[in-house]
Symmetry: none
Amino acid sequence: MAKLCSLVRVEIVAVGTELLLGQIPDTNSQWLGERLAANGIASHFHQHVGDNHERIVAAFRIALSRSDAVIVCGGLGPTQDDITRAALAEIMGVDLVRHDDIVEKIRSFFDARGRTMSLNNLLQADVPAGATIIEQVRGTAPGLICPVGDQVMYAVPGVPYEMSDMFERAILPDLLNRQRAQGHTSVIVSRVLRTWGASESGLAEAVAERFDALVDSDRVTIAFLASGIEGIKVRITARGNDREHALALLDEEEQLVRALIEAAFGDIIFGLDDETMEHAIAQRLLARGLSLGLAESLTGGLIASRLVNVPGASQWFRGGIVSYASQVKFDLLNVTPGPVVSASAAQEMALGARALLGTDVALAVTGVAGPDEQDGQGPGTVFVGLAIGDEVTHVQLRVPGDRARVRSFSAIGALDALRRGLDRLA
Amino acid sequence: MAKLCSLVRVEIVAVGTELLLGQIPDTNSQWLGERLAANGIASHFHQHVGDNHERIVAAFRIALSRSDAVIVCGGLGPTQDDITRAALAEIMGVDLVRHDDIVEKIRSFFDARGRTMSLNNLLQADVPAGATIIEQVRGTAPGLICPVGDQVMYAVPGVPYEMSDMFERAILPDLLNRQRAQGHTSVIVSRVLRTWGASESGLAEAVAERFDALVDSDRVTIAFLASGIEGIKVRITARGNDREHALALLDEEEQLVRALIEAAFGDIIFGLDDETMEHAIAQRLLARGLSLGLAESLTGGLIASRLVNVPGASQWFRGGIVSYASQVKFDLLNVTPGPVVSASAAQEMALGARALLGTDVALAVTGVAGPDEQDGQGPGTVFVGLAIGDEVTHVQLRVPGDRARVRSFSAIGALDALRRGLDRLA
């Protein structure tokens, strides 16, 4: 991303002794790093520091000595070890001032949940004089924008889903304004091609020539982001003189990269940006007016729980049977008694689920999560059954990893099989 | 943790632009932090820095200015952006010297795999003059122990399983020797109480007196870790003259804190350390020899997918019905046609699931995930039905957040209701 770097350098400081002790992973710094990079904003350093006033202040001073802006995650909560506010006040050389309007918001947050607000929650209403509030819409602790000379420190809660909301809503726009104020007027846009079924090295090889051709480009970059069971993301970033120009470069590059990937692997791009595999399923079922039912064995409800995350799922998803015990497969789904890790069992499960739930389409999964083998099949052996119209088919998957990973890979693998099955329909 | 610090303060510096861009998570810092803490070695700061010589050197100087020892992860590989060796040489004020014996080891590593060694692999044989080698037994790049005055910098590859091997085999023993040389022999242990159903601020208030009494303790500390939908963790850490002494202090403190929490909130501690809510359920069902079935509406299989993560779940979990569409509730679970977001619907779902799945116990959940209301009920309104023995009961929950969070909170809230229900059995 070097060529696309901004004039504004952002440092991330994650606060919390639990990070130093390794009791929780610091997912915030990774998430922020990716979002900053996707917006062409440079981040040269990250720090972790514990809940200790002197050390937090020291970390802040170091960050301000080498970066233009600092994003502080954590230490804004209501407990005695949440001391980020005081450290910010010391850096700014100001006092903490209690904001009555924040007190009211916190109180109403508790009232709305029928809970009484303990007094130490009021600490969250203390704000360094001169700081701007980032309104909290998902919890109780507001975020802060603290000017330090012509530099700035942003403070957000450590709770990822509160942090990400405040970043998108308040911090990113402010950073982009600062870039423009520094005459950095070019616009950076990016798009992610979501793929499932190819390895990162395989994808890199497929687009290697194009990748090398762009090494010296100050306009377009390609990056590969391994996303665990969700597949490999191919992120294309383009910098243009204005938004229209940037989007034109992006569209052009997407066509090139898409062609290279599809030539090598076929139809493995299932979505763009935040589109998940379940969104791909939803679009296809809605377009064809079909309803879906499930029969899950080793995935144990994982597929259903992914599908109902799609808003409006009730328009096409009726439900599923979690047939974890074999007897449930026999009794409820009319699977022929016998081995249940087989292609025929998967197909019978799909037929049984479709009949029981009265749907147009049914997807079924059976297999071995491990660690022990079952029906003579080893861990990672998975059969997917698919009932669409008069067609009843199966797909066999071999998936790696421990119990949890085998289940997760099986869930998205089965959804991908359904995606391809629906695409085969006229 | 300030009061519990060891004499040797270790800083972790993870090197790699991919960390700043968020393309991969930094699992090494978390792992090292946990291992250091478990051995009573203090780690006050972590840094991430990209593959840039000046910035790496700057990060090293900062680390040496505030820590006694530095563990550097990454940048020891064979490619052009692996520049940790050169940065270490600059800090030490020495040249890089190529070690022929390392060259031979690397060459044989490739020979053994029938691969030809590309010349840039020889870079891995360059060692700062005066540094000691940590032999590489899992890959090609050796680790380094670099004396800097009376301080020390350790360098290990970023590949987790190469890093962890070198830490256990060479770095940890060296650090413990340094501690002993400074007459520091104490041991630090910690334990986490897992709670669900109380707010972080409420817990802090419940133990406030004890917390304050420990502020100046150099033996014991208490910390609160918000863990999203998984509840609040209360971490107790104790430092003893030896392991036995440390554990005794820990047990004593746990009894005190446990009593304060239970006095304020009752039975909200569901487990210790890594024990999840589903483990608490599994223990109780196994102890009573009971089987479980589910009926899930708004949670859409989320509860089932959590339960099957417990190894041996097949001993007590038979399956579940994901009755997402109302018609499925009526047809399969014999719920009385009408509003399905109600206490009676939840109880009928539990009875229906128990009959259909032939289990001893059944748990059912119905409610409104939102954003729209349903059956005149607003988002976050959730009814949990519980069928145990002859007893059929319900619990109403009010849960916050968007669709995904309402579902997640409903799932763990329902499991907590089941936990309490099972505890009510003789």
